[in-house]
Symmetry: C2
Subunit: 361 residues, 2 copies
Amino acid sequence: MEDMLLMTPGPTMVPEEVKKVAGMQPFHHRTEEFYQLFSKLNENLKKIFQTKNEVITLTSSGTGGMEAAVANLFSAGDKVLVASIGYFGERFYDIARAYGLDAEIYDFGWGNAVDLDILEDKLKKGNYKALLVTHNETSTGVTNNIENIAKIANRYNVPVIVDAVSSLGGIPLKMDEWGIDAVITCSQKCLMSPPGLSFIALSDRAWEMTKTSNLPKYYFDLRKAREGVLKPKPDTPATPAVSTIMAVAKATDMLLEKGLDNVYKKQSEYGKKVRKYVKELGLDLLPSEEVASNLITAIKVPERYKASDIINYMKEKHRVLITGGQGPLKGKIIRIGHMGYLTDEMLDKALYALKDAISSL
Amino acid sequence: MEDMLLMTPGPTMVPEEVKKVAGMQPFHHRTEEFYQLFSKLNENLKKIFQTKNEVITLTSSGTGGMEAAVANLFSAGDKVLVASIGYFGERFYDIARAYGLDAEIYDFGWGNAVDLDILEDKLKKGNYKALLVTHNETSTGVTNNIENIAKIANRYNVPVIVDAVSSLGGIPLKMDEWGIDAVITCSQKCLMSPPGLSFIALSDRAWEMTKTSNLPKYYFDLRKAREGVLKPKPDTPATPAVSTIMAVAKATDMLLEKGLDNVYKKQSEYGKKVRKYVKELGLDLLPSEEVASNLITAIKVPERYKASDIINYMKEKHRVLITGGQGPLKGKIIRIGHMGYLTDEMLDKALYALKDAISSL
């Protein structure tokens, strides 16, 4: 599998320098060497989250980070609104329900972004304790306008919890400036590292909310984790995935060296390039151009093709891995991920493989 | 840090072959290649757990696995007994309390094993829904006799939940034969891999208990995870730490190739060798010989030394990392881990470093 080009919504390709670090002997997590590395990572993450507050590192997948947000901010029976535009919106709802919240889901439609007028209407009337929303919905290739969503939510004093699992470090998300109360991401998407870590930052208002939350938590207890981060020699309550921390420290160094704005610009160019190419092949995108993600492109599969045939052809003939649809879109779309570590050559190879599949099948 | 010899209670040394795998490009987790690898890992784990039931892989540290046991088996208010012999017994109690169980802790003393008579007396009268107990207590270098503990608990029909985080794959633990209801372990101790994964297996009786548990869980939902494991193409509910799964698959292959009985025998020899060497240096062990762990040795620090001086000397002069005491034993003991991947040469190097520290300081 070493030669496979992953054009998937995570795990994504990991740069050589980062893989090298991931394959090193893990440090012991109670040593000066680890404390220095973890301090560095925490500083890097604050820059990428664009927040003055601490970013908490959890040894879990992104879903664990989403659960940490729910378990730490709320109490059983709290009324929250999940603004869903696909599979991961529904996951947020499922987590909230599992924890006994009075969660309401509003489905804006798979392939659409959140409609700001409808959202405003709901927030005005709903008396919600919080809004839970996905930034970049990988199941449909749609990016929400979080800046405007946060503006509206703040107008009605509703804290905004953002699943930025697939977006952070790839497209702009200014946590403090936009007034976002919780941001969750993970290691294996735009942060160019192996899976195994999630990251979460809270606003001052959200840290206040943690004080009254009565939901059970221990492993995902963010207040305890923050105590570790705030130590002069920062640590974690339990043994973390040290190798992956080492990898993300390296990968975030690389990302910040490039500069966030440059990364955003490149992602935006890649997004446009993929959509243009796909349209020139005569294929239709699932979402409209205005809401299409620059990190992943969802393409409708024409009647005359089978999604799995296209995916298998690209995989077997070209060693390029893309994915199909999830939930109601299974068999109806294919998805090309172009987030995280990606070069022009890699993207061109993937697009050529798609073209070949479309013309050969 | 690449040259540092970790003689710690985890992370432990990772063999070259396993590090190589950990540093590979992670597979995508919805591919044939991953399904085959995960099937293989699941088969390996069943052999190491010595159970016919499925072993569940969680992307978390061992503490997350302990929390999964609590959250899936119990309901708020359930009365459980934690038989504690140190730091990790107390952690099990803290988790049970965090989830609202009516948990009672009995402290058998840091440095002692569980006293079987006292335990029997408590189980006879206590009407407990379960017994939570640590197999190998790394904070004190003591191993409990889990076979006999399980025998007594089963006599009173009390399910036994065993924290085998630091023991499984290093010393005998026959889950099914001994009648144990839950066993938890993790990747970075005897399984010779980087940290980031925990593993848990349940007995038929414990799977029955999951049906009535009313505690909130989503990320650690074992029933949902088992559905994934039981698929013909086994998967996980969320993106797992794929690289670490690849590493543990390799490491467990190596462990089973050696043969569990050979590994147990070697660990037993290493344990004896360390204790003999330590005594010959004129040092005292924390626990008695009868309950001393073959995976980690806790040594009392004589009055004339400072624990941190010994640790630093061994680290700086010999590049050998051992650890100090936790909780009430901080400053009073040093601990030499000798679990997982270890050769005669590595052990000799560590013992010589200790000798040099003791004679030089």
